[in-house]
Amino acid sequence: MTAEPLLRLAEVGMRFADGTAALHEVDLEVSAGQFLAVVGPSGCGKSTLLRLAAGLAKPSSGAVLRRTDEVAYVFQDPALLPWRTVRANVELAAELRGLPKPERRRLAAQAIELVGLEQFAGHRPGALSGGMRMRVSLARSLTLRPELFLFDEPFGALDEISRERLGDEVAKLFGARGFGAVFVTHSVTEAVFLSTRVIVLSGRPGRVVGDFPVPFDYPRPPELRFDERFAHLAGAVSACLRGEAA
């Protein structure tokens, strides 16, 4: 099942038209059942990496190979359409793909239930908290059963509690569905808790400077965050990140 990677970046470099070099010779692979966390100083090219992975931009050197079109992208901002209700926002992905109405209704209802927002299905995003909006965004990305998930610091703007709770849910989903994922975050704890592997990028232009396998089994209980081996690994990732940031 892990034979063919879902996503492969080979010596990917990115230089923008204004001369900004954002990424330098980045190699990485993600297969189904792998959850890759990416940490790095801000501005090093993490969002750029995801945009390349999703095909929203073309690399200036190297190659991006994707074996699936079922890609979900969870942005830093929930990216909800303020004039649509929660239900209609969640339906959007299926709607844009041209699925028939009853089918997308059903998929949206399932996804809304999964993130626990049934009572709010008729509300507009303006009436929801930041954490709830992020759940809507997550639900929308779940509707099409993506094989590859790309997360761009999705919970970065939330308070600690919502952040951990949503992290627990993503871990649970991953445990259940075994998709491939690239999860960009600036929280080392979040990276280690969620992933099967953590990659550390250098400052701009981002290069891979650290690669840490994460050995914990799924499902991961929330208490794992207080485990000694967890703290040890998180410390090593932090040290690598600080060494680079300095």
Partner: protein, 264 residues
């Protein structure tokens, strides 16, 4: 309490304006020159409460209102269509936008007599004045609204393979609604002004309220003239308010600046 807070300030301003008006009429002007600014109660009594004077005023207002609204609808259709075309391709924008700006800068009123020569003195010329005067704010506001969709939303649509039309229909146009309404309100006021002032210049054909203003001015019937001016501006306010109400109906539940606009 909140009612008092809401209505008291504009009422106070109204009273102050009326007081100043009376002061100028009775203290500033000698009786033989009072026709320059007749006091408010005279305007009300002679201009608005006397059925013989009110009837032609209302007929004129109805005609001007019809001209203004037809002009606004045409400007709306043309303006939104032009903005959509410009939003789809830079070259269209580069070709058309300079001329849209010209619309704003040429003295359209100076062209009014010309329209009379070219197109006659009937409805078409009068409507044309309204369209030309109301078009630019609709183009500019709609275009701004269509362009204001965030990159992350565009990325989302790209990710799920949405085409241009879908993007326009499901992302850009709904997002542009608040801006379009801003344009509509500005243009509605301008269109009313265009109808009144255009009519003022035509001096032929069926009399709209602008022509009546000019007629009363020539006859020194200043009570009727002021009544006509008040009716015309009252109509402008009504239109402005009505579009605000419509904007809140359509977008107030999700767009803050629409929901919070101060007039009701």
């Amino acid at each position: 309490m909140s009612r008092v807070r809401r209505y008291a300030p504009p009422l106070v301003v109204l009273l102050l304006v009326l007081a100043a008006w009376y002061a100028v009429s009775y203290l500033g002007l000698s009786p033989e020159r009072r026709f320059l600014l007749p006091p408010p109660d005279e305007v009300l009594r002679v201009g608005l409460l006397d059925p013989d004077n009110l009837a032609p005023l209302l007929d004129g207002l109805a005609l001007s209102a019809e001209v203004a609204m037809i002009g606004l609808v045409l400007a709306f259709v043309l303006g939104v269509a032009a903005a959509v075309a410009m939003s789809q391709a830079r070259w269209v924008e580069r070709s058309l936008y300079p001329y849209a700006v010209v619309l704003q800068t040429i003295p359209i009123l100076a062209l009014v007599p010309l329209f009379g020569f070219w197109f006659g003195f009937g409805l078409p010329s009068r409507i044309l004045v309204c369209v030309l005067i109301a078009l630019f704010p609709l183009i500019a506001n709609t275009l701004h609204g269509l362009r204001s969709a965030e990159r992350v939303h565009h990325d989302l649509f790209t990710l799920y393979g949405a085409g241009r039309l879908t993007r326009l229909w499901k992302l850009q146009l709904p997002g542009a609604l608040p801006s379009i309404f801003t344009g509509l309100r500005v243009s509605a006021g301008l269109s009313v002004v265009g109808a009144v002032v255009g009519d003022f210049f035509f001096k032929q054909g069926e009399p709209g309220i602008g022509m009546l203003i000019d007629l009363y001015r020539a006859n020194l019937q200043s009570e009727q003239m002021f009544a006509a001016v008040l009716l015309a501006s009252g109509f402008g306010v009504l239109v402005f308010w009505a579009f605000g109400l419509l904007a809140r109906r359509v977008a107030g539940s999700w767009h803050e600046s629409v929901a919070d606009s101060p007039d009701r």
